[in-house]
């Protein structure tokens, strides 16, 4: 019987979720290199799918079947299985919905949907959650799905993982994938696939990499079938069981995310300007440095301001971690960085650059974030700029729930990126009336040990653990302020700290830390 116990962060963690024993978050330790790393150290052997033989596959390499439903049947789809999908098509994905429509047709129940992320376009799955075709979701739950989960309507507990945590869960067998369905902008009949060409081009397919290697059965779905060989093969056909042609797998206008617009908000531009100046004044911006900035409006504006400063001071980066956009591509093409190491492409310039420029390199959660790798890239990034919904006085932050307790966002690579040498949260000090700096975050997603700087339009707060950063920006003219002071100022503006939302006692989702432990629990909202 599952019970809630407090983990070392003082947050409730169930001992069991969806029938699986859970390890509570156990904080940090110093490793032999003096680095602050997660204390949890799992043992044993990596999971692996059953041995296959090429003798069971067509010698001439044609693995096509007539449709998705047939592919699912041939994969042996049955009640209670786990189906994984990836989110490279973002809000333009048509495949994940089609899978569960087909599963419903087949009369299958209690499936676990294991997407690398979900989007509002996936609200189609609500009816399959209602009817019991989908038992629960382990992956980010955005918009309507988050709302559904928050209201406690899902049959199982939601499990939210970072991109790296998803790779970890696949590798250590926490989530055995029965069937991986990989939507592929271009593929050949053997199952080689890529994301750089085709109407639904999305750049790369890194989020499907683990799925292709570890799932029992792998289906590639495409609307742009080319004769063998499909080059480059970002997904290797040697892992693929079946290939399905669909008329359309994505809506190109929505694959290119709307978030690649630079913000017009004067306050967010001010925040971006502060972040860029901080990176320069703290001495991070120097020849050979590296940074990561997402595709949110503030992060893009930061990249543009930083670019101006780099040109001004003749500084060149060694690499930039994407989410790539036109703006990062321009930096690559103008010689301001040697490489873009790209986890997902957000616009057509990103896709084109990845296709044409060998220095625009596709990466995966394995290279960048995975806990069971022999290292990963996240810690090698000099500075990363991220968002958050809330942050507390100890610099712990929330990225999945709003202050009213509703689950509305996924973790993405956010937790993994916290291991950068300088983690900067660029956030407005309040949204509408809701303060962002709070006494206790609604849901803890990132421990304060790893969050170094909070940049708001009302000033910059540096984590007292980072005395080095505090010293480095002394006399810079930047508005460095204690986090408590910014909090008090905002509370004066908004009319006091918000009341705690009343939440029910029953968990609706758990939040995993990068190592697979449970860092916090999301509870049902009373509405």
């Amino acid at each position: 019987m599952s019970e809630l116990r407090k983990n070392v962060a003082g947050r409730p963690a169930p001992t069991e979720a969806n029938g699986k024993i859970q390890v509570p978050y156990c904080g940090f330790r110093k490793n032999e290199f003096g680095d602050l790393v997660s204390a949890h150290k799992p043992e044993g052997r990596r999971a692996a799918p059953r041995i296959r033989s090429c003798a069971d596959y067509p010698l001439r390499g044609d693995k096509r079947v007539s449709d998705l439903r047939t592919a699912l049947e041939k994969c042996g789809l049955k009640d209670g299985m786990t189906i994984s999908t990836h989110h490279h098509f973002r809000n333009g994905d048509l495949v994940a919905n089609a899978i569960f429509d087909a599963a419903a047709d087949l009369g299958v129940k209690n499936l676990l949907w294991f997407p690398s992320a979900s989007f509002p376009c996936h609200q189609n799955q609500l009816k399959h959650l209602e009817s019991g075709v989908i038992h629960h979701i382990e992956g980010s739950m955005n918009g309507p799905l988050g709302d559904y989960c928050s209201r406690g309507k899902m049959r199982g507990l939601g499990v939210l993982r970072s991109h790296g945590g998803r790779y970890q869960a696949v590798q250590d067998g926490e989530v055995p994938i029965d069937i991986a369905v990989i939507a592929s902008p271009t593929a050949d009949p053997f199952g080689n696939a890529n994301g750089v060409t085709g109407d639904s081009a999305c750049g790369l397919l890194g989020f499907a990499l683990a799925d292709s290697q570890y799932a029992e059965r792998v289906v590639v779905v495409t609307d742009n079938l080319v004769p063998f060989p499909c080059v480059p093969w970002q997904i290797q056909g040697n892992y693929v069981d079946f290939v399905v042609e669909m008329e359309q797998i994505g809506d190109p206008s929505k694959i290119i995310s709307g978030t690649t617009q630079i913000t017009k908000s004067p306050d967010r531009l001010l925040i971006a300007d502060y972040v860029a100046r901080f990176v320069r004044e703290a001495g991070i911006m120097k020849d050979g440095f590296s940074f990561q900035a997402g595709a949110g409006g503030t992060a893009l504006a930061f990249a543009i301001y930083l670019k101006e400063m780099m040109i001004e001071e003749g500084v060149k980066a060694r690499f930039i971690r994407g989410g790539s956009t036109k703006y990062l591509v321009e930096m690559l093409e103008e010689g301001l960085t040697d490489y873009i190491l790209d986890g997902q492409t957000f616009d057509l310039d990103g896709v084109r650059s990845m296709r044409e420029n060998t220095n625009h390199v596709n990466t995966s959660p394995f290279t960048s974030y995975n806990y069971h790798g022999k290292g990963n890239f996240a810690g090698m990034v000099d500075a990363v700029v991220l968002g958050a919904t809330e942050v507390d006085l100890d610099f712990g932050a929330n990225v999945v729930t709003h202050s009213d307790g509703r689950l509305l966002h996924g973790i993405g690579g956010w937790q993994n990126c916290l291991f950068s040498n300088c983690t900067i949260l660029a956030i407005p000090s309040f949204r509408d009336r809701i303060p962002v700096i709070v006494d206790r975050v609604t849901t803890l997603c990132g421990p304060g040990e790893l969050i170094d700087v909070i940049v708001t339009e009302r000033g910059i707060a540096i984590n007292p653990r980072r005395q080095d950063l505090l010293n480095s920006v002394k006399g810079s003219g930047l508005p460095i302020r204690p986090i408590e002071e910014i909090k008090q100022e905002v509370e004066r503006i908004v009319g006091g700290a918000p009341a705690q939302p009343s939440l029910a006692d029953d968990p609706v989702a758990i939040i995993k830390w990068v190592d697979g432990t449970v860092i916090d629990t999301v509870f049902r909202v009373n509405t």
Binding site: P266, R277, D432, I434, R492, I493, G495
Partner: protein, 403 residues
């Protein structure tokens, strides 16, 4: 049925504002029907504020429906008061939010006025962060940015903002409506520590004097100190002709500014980005202001996306003799400040004055002098500011707020 009225805004795109409907009653006390995006966090606080507002207004029985999209308390109070006053036009009492300490700062005649950032009077969501962009002044606008039917609402929003919003040291300006409509604006905002009143469509000395007299009467009634200055806006052919007369009408006039949108319409010329059609009028304003011993301040540049042309425009303004200009977007502030930054020569002079001041301080002398010339304290203060701001301009718009 009681008297009913509505105020505020609602709809999918409205944020940080609210909509209120009010119905007066004769029994039953105050009934509040609240729908709020932030209900779980601030629902109780909103109800308490609505009840407090009703008490202040002296209303015992009424029904309120509030649809809130995250409005700040000063906005909620303003919308509730507006709805009540629209329903009950004879209502004389007001609900005055608590005055914050930061709203009490005074101004001086010689302040830098390179930029004034316009805030539409009925659009409260920009107010709390306006000062963070470090304009020399913020200007709460009751005139052209406010629809005629919302003048009453804007007056209350602006009054509340003056009491409860921290503008981070920016000078506090209000643009009233043209005289005579503007008199009602003065009654509502002058008690709230306004530093500079902008008089639009100004065409005569008597309008300036009318405003100055009205301000004096309000001050006498409320008994408060502190300077309140005037900045007439000349924006008609007649106004330009009478610019000197207007600039000298009252000793409280500290600056004269020009409104080019109205002026070009008045003379029948299309407004171009090169501005040849208004060159003469701009120079006439500079000349009249200098002759009157007040600061000439330029109009606004309306293409908020074009920073390069804004820079050229501001440099040209400075070249014509203007000391500042209006900004309609926070992003314009930095560009304007850079353009109006002191030249090397101006900076040198300021540094010499600062050095003389420091010497006088060190020797305990109360008198600052440069060569044989005594330097007045306001000039010293301004020189200190010039030097400090010049130091800041290298790191752009950041740095500390005004002292």
């Amino acid at each position: 049925m009681g008297h009913t009225a509505e105020a505020g805004r609602r709809g999918a795109k409205i944020r940080s504002d609210c909509w209120v409907s009010f119905e007066s009653g004769v029994t039953g006390g105050i009934a509040i029907d609240l729908e709020s995006k932030v209900a779980s966090m601030y629902g109780e606080s909103i109800r308490a504020l609505a009840e407090e507002t009703m008490r202040s207004l002296g209303i015992e029985h009424a029904s309120l429906r509030i649809e809130d999209a995250g409005a700040l308390p000063f906005v909620l109070a303003a919308r509730i008061e507006t709805a009540a006053k629209r329903a009950l036009p004879d209502l004389e009492r007001s609900h005055l939010p608590e005055r914050i300490d930061q709203s009490r700062g005074k101004t001086t005649r010689d302040r830098l006025r390179r930029s004034r950032l316009y805030l539409p009077g009925n659009e409260p969501k920009f107010a709390p962060n306006a000062g963070l962009h470090e304009p020399d002044a913020i200007i709460l606008d009751l005139e052209d940015s406010v629809a005629h039917a919302e003048k009453d609402a804007a007056r209350i929003v602006v009054r509340n903002a003056l009491r409860s919003v921290d503008f981070y040291g920016a000078e506090r300006m209000v643009r009233i409506n043209p005289i005579p409509d503007g008199y009602a604006d003065l009654d509502s905002i002058i008690p709230e520590n306004v530093h500079v009143v902008l008089i639009p469509k100004c065409e005569s000395a008597s309008q300036v004097n009318g405003v100055a007299d009205r301000i004096d009467r309000i001050r006498a009634a409320h008994g408060f100190e502190g300077e309140i200055f005037l900045m007439p806006i000349v924006e008609t052919a007649l106004g330009i002709e009478r610019a000197y007369e207007i600039a000298t009408a009252s000793p409280t006039v500290i600056a004269l500014t020009i409104g080019l949108e109205d002026y070009t319409a008045d003379i029948g010329a299309p407004r171009t980005s090169e501005g040849r059609e208004s060159q003469w009028a701009r120079s006439a304003v500079v000349n009249a202001a200098r002759a009157a011993g007040v600061a000439p301040i330029d109009s606004v540049f309306s293409d908020v996306a074009d920073m390069d042309r804004l820079r050229l425009n501001a440099l040209e303004s400075k070249g014509l003799g203007f000391e500042g200009m209006g900004c309609i977007h926070p992003r314009q502030v930095r560009v304007v400040h850079e353009a109006f930054a002191p030249t090397e020569m101006e900076l040198e002079k300021a540094k010499r004055i600062v050095a003389a001041f420091e010497k006088a301080e060190a020797t305990g002398s109360g008198v600052v002098s440069l060569g044989s010339k005594m330097i007045d304290p306001p000039v010293v203060k301004r020189a200190l500011r010039t030097v400090r701001l010049a130091g800041q301009s290298r790191t752009s718009a950041g740095g500390s707020a005004d002292e």
